[in-house]
Structure formats: C-alpha cells, structure tokens
C-alpha cells in the first residue's frame, strides 16, 4: 500500500505539473483581451476601412499608445466593398469623442497591424454600437513602394531632360528622350 501511495503521489504531482505548464502557456505566452467576453465591461464600436491590410482579429486598439480595446470581428460590407471592423473597447475608456478617427498602423517595421484612435473634439462620446466615421486605411507597403518608384522615375527623367523644369510637370509634357 505504501508503494502504491507514493506512486499515486508521483502520478498526481506529474499531472499537476503538466497542468501548471499548460496554465503557464495559456496565460503567459498569449494575451487574450482582458476585456473580451465579460459583457458590461466592454462596448462595441465599428469602423469601415477601405483597406485593412493584414489586420487580424485580436489586434489591439490603442489610443495615444495605450491599449483601450481589441478587434473582435472583421467582415466585408458587400455593398460598399469596405472592411467592417468590430472593436470592443474597455468601458473604462468611455469618454472617447464620437468624431475621433481610427487609423491602421504597423507595429515596428514588419510587425502586425493595430488600430490607433486619435481623439476628436466633439462633446459627445462613443457609445455601444456606434460607428467611427473618420478612418484611414492601412498603408500597404507595395503601394507605397510603387509611388516611391514612380516619384523617382519622374524626377530622374526630369533631371535628364531640362534641369530647371518644375517638378509638377507631367511626364507626357516633357521633351522626348533622344533616340
């Protein structure tokens, strides 16, 4: 009996250790929003974006760098072809002006996307099921690089042509390159 009780204790300790490790993983290696789930402590706000880049469900919503909520659902508006982002904001932060604007930013150079809110000047505050009207889409790196390249090529052909030309001249009005 003595041996079997030490055995059982060993097995129990092992199982306990296993579950402790699981608890560590689920709480320490990942964040689930402190405000997800409990209704009453959060309120829903939606925003429509032209392009959300790779914004994901669970991405933080922050204001002045402080996390105030999380993205809980992303869907597509089938009429306007816009992305509808549903956010849950902590009701601690219930004094966000209703004309605040929401922009999608990138964490670091290659990090994930998050939503940044910038306070407006209105006296009314965002309430449950409100919509944020002023939004700014994610900056898509490819588009940015495309614009940059276009800029460079414009400038390049400008300088190769008449060096004093105004930068605003469109490429079609420039002198043809010698062939």
């Amino acid at each position: 009996m003595g041996k079997s009780s030490t055995l059982n204790m060993g097995a129990g300790a092992f199982v306990l250790l296993g579950f402790a490790a699981l608890a560590f993983l689920t709480t320490q290696t990942t964040v689930h929003g402190p405000h997800l789930g409990r209704p009453g402590s959060v309120y829903d706000v939606t925003a429509k974006f032209d392009n959300i880049g790779d914004l994901k469900v669970g991405a933080p919503v922050s204001m002045a760098g402080v996390e105030v909520g999380r993205v809980v659902r992303i869907s597509l508006d089938p009429k306007q072809y816009k992305a509808v982002v549903l956010m849950q904001l902590d009701s601690k932060f219930d004094q966000i002006p209703s004309d605040s604007d929401a922009s999608i930013y990138t964490q670091g150079l290659l990090g994930g996307k998050f939503i940044g809110l910038t306070a407006g000047a209105s006296d009314t505050y965002l309430k449950n099921h409100d919509q944020i009207d002023f939004t700014q889409s994610a900056i898509v790196l490819e588009n940015l690089i495309g614009q940059l390249v276009a800029n460079f090529t414009n400038k390049g052909s400008d300088s190769s042509g008449s060096s004093g030309a105004a930068p605003s001249t469109s490429p079609s009005s420039k002198p043809e390159k010698p062939k």
Binding site: S4, L7, N8, G10, A11, G12, A13, F14, V15, L17, G18, F19, A21, L22, F24, L25, T26, Q28, T29, T30, V31, H32, G58, P60, Q107, G108, L109, L110, G111, G112
Partner: protein, 253 residues
C-alpha cells in the same frame, strides 16, 4: 519477386487492419478500465513522471538551440526581438509535440512493449486468461490510457522548458531585450497555436501508446521476440509520428 511484393503488401494491410481492430477493442474496454483509476494512475506515473527528466533536459537543449539559431538568423534582419515569437511558435506547433512523441516512443513506448511482451513470454497473460481475467482490460488498457494521458502533459512541459531555454540563450547570453522577447511572443502567439500542439501531442500519444501495447501484446513469446517488438515499437512510432505530423500540420493550416 512480384509474389514477394504482393505478400509484403498483404502483410502490411493485415497489420494495419489488425492494429485498427486492436484500437477498437481498447476503446471498447476503456469505460470499464476508467473505473479502476488506480491502475491508470500507476501507468501515468510510469509513462509520464519517469519520462520527465529526459523530456525536460531535451526541452531545455532544444530551446537553447532554437534561441541560438533564431538569434543568428533574426539578427541579419535586425529583428532579434522576434526571437520570442519564433521560439514560441516553433515549439508550440511543431517541436514539442514531435520531439516529445519521439522521446516518448523511446522512453515509455519501449518500456510498455517490453513489459507486455515479457508478460506474454512468461505466460502471465495466459495465466490471467485462465483465471477469467481479461488481460486486455487489466494490463493493456491501463497502459494505453496512461500513455495517452501522459503524452500531452509531457509535450506542454517540454514547451515551457524550451521557452525558458530559448530565453536563457536569447535574453541572458545574447542580450535580446527581455520585455520585447515576452511581449512580442504574447502579441503573436494565439490560443490556436497552443491547441494545435495539444491536439497533435494527444494524437501522437494515442499512436505511440497503441503501437507499443500492440507490439508488446502480439510479441513472439521468446527473448528474441520481445527484443524485436521493442525495436519495432521505436521504428514504427518514429515514422508514424513524423507522418502524422505532416498530415496534422497540413490539416491545421
């Protein structure tokens, strides 16, 4: 030549069918075996607690290597802070279920197979049958269940130790910022990743335990036969774990 090929094909099919039927038998006997939890507890101790040392040591070193390699690679892109993410995702999704599975087959699977095989060889199983005690219910099922329960727990422990191994090398030795190591990890690891590792390790646990008890139960009742059963357990388990890992990964993506 063709005849031989056909025979080995038929043999393989037979083995697969045999082991599937054996699994069904084990599952059918599981509810009644669960009533005698003491037997299962003892097997959890045998498979789990006794494998802890090797699992923890391996986890530490795997994590440390991950930290070192990940650091070298990420440094090129100037994003050493992503080391935590890289280590966590790699460990949770792939490394800890697979390596735990392989180690489990080597440490616990062989013990199961040789124990049951030796019981067969020394006629203990036949003696039980003569006493109208079902050896499957009393010997095989508790061992099988013990392995199935122990394996996911071992894998989770492996992950945690591995993370600390990666942290040890990345943060303590290489000087990655501790705060960003953890916070980047927390930002990008999702519960889904943990679930994926758990599901994988549970399935590997079923596969490895099943192979071990099957090989042991049907071992030739000779010294040679028991040895062969042990070898087969390791070889089959390793291949099956890696094969299943591919299937499960593609299913999860």
């Amino acid at each position: 030549m063709i005849g031989e090929l056909r025979r080995s094909l038929v043999d393989a099919l037979e083995g697969l069918g045999d082991i599937s039927l054996f699994l069904l038998r084990l599952i059918a006997d599981t509810p009644r075996a669960l009533l005698r939890f003491g037997l299962i507890g003892r097997q959890i101790f045998n498979c789990g607690a006794l494998s802890l040392v090797i699992i923890m040591l391996s986890g530490l070193f795997v994590g440390m290597v991950l930290g070192l390699q990940g650091f070298q690679l990420l440094q090129r892109f100037g994003s050493e802070e992503a080391l935590g993410t890289a280590a966590a995702i790699g460990l949770l999704r792939e490394l800890s279920p697979v390596i735990t599975g392989l180690l489990f087959a080597g440490r616990a699977g062989t013990a199961l197979a040789s124990e049951i095989g030796l019981m067969r060889a020394t006629d203990q199983l036949s003696a039980m049958e003569m006493m109208a005690v079902d050896p499957i219910r009393h010997v095989v099922v508790p061992r099988f269940l013990g392995g199935v329960i122990a394996m996911p727990l071992l894998s989770v422990i492996f992950s945690v130790i591995g993370l600390y191994g990666a942290q040890l090398v990345g943060v303590q030795l290489m000087g990655v910022d501790s705060g960003s190591f953890w916070s980047q990890m927390q930002a990008s690891v999702e519960l889904r990743d943990i679930n994926q590792g758990l599901v994988k390790s549970a399935i590997f646990g079923v596969a490895c335990s099943l192979i071990a008890v099957y090989q042991g139960y049907y071992a030739e009742p000779t010294a040679e036969g028991v040895g062969l059963a042990t070898t087969r357990t390791v070889v089959t388990s390793a291949v099956v774990v890696l094969f299943l890992d591919y299937l499960l990964t593609s299913a999860f993506l």
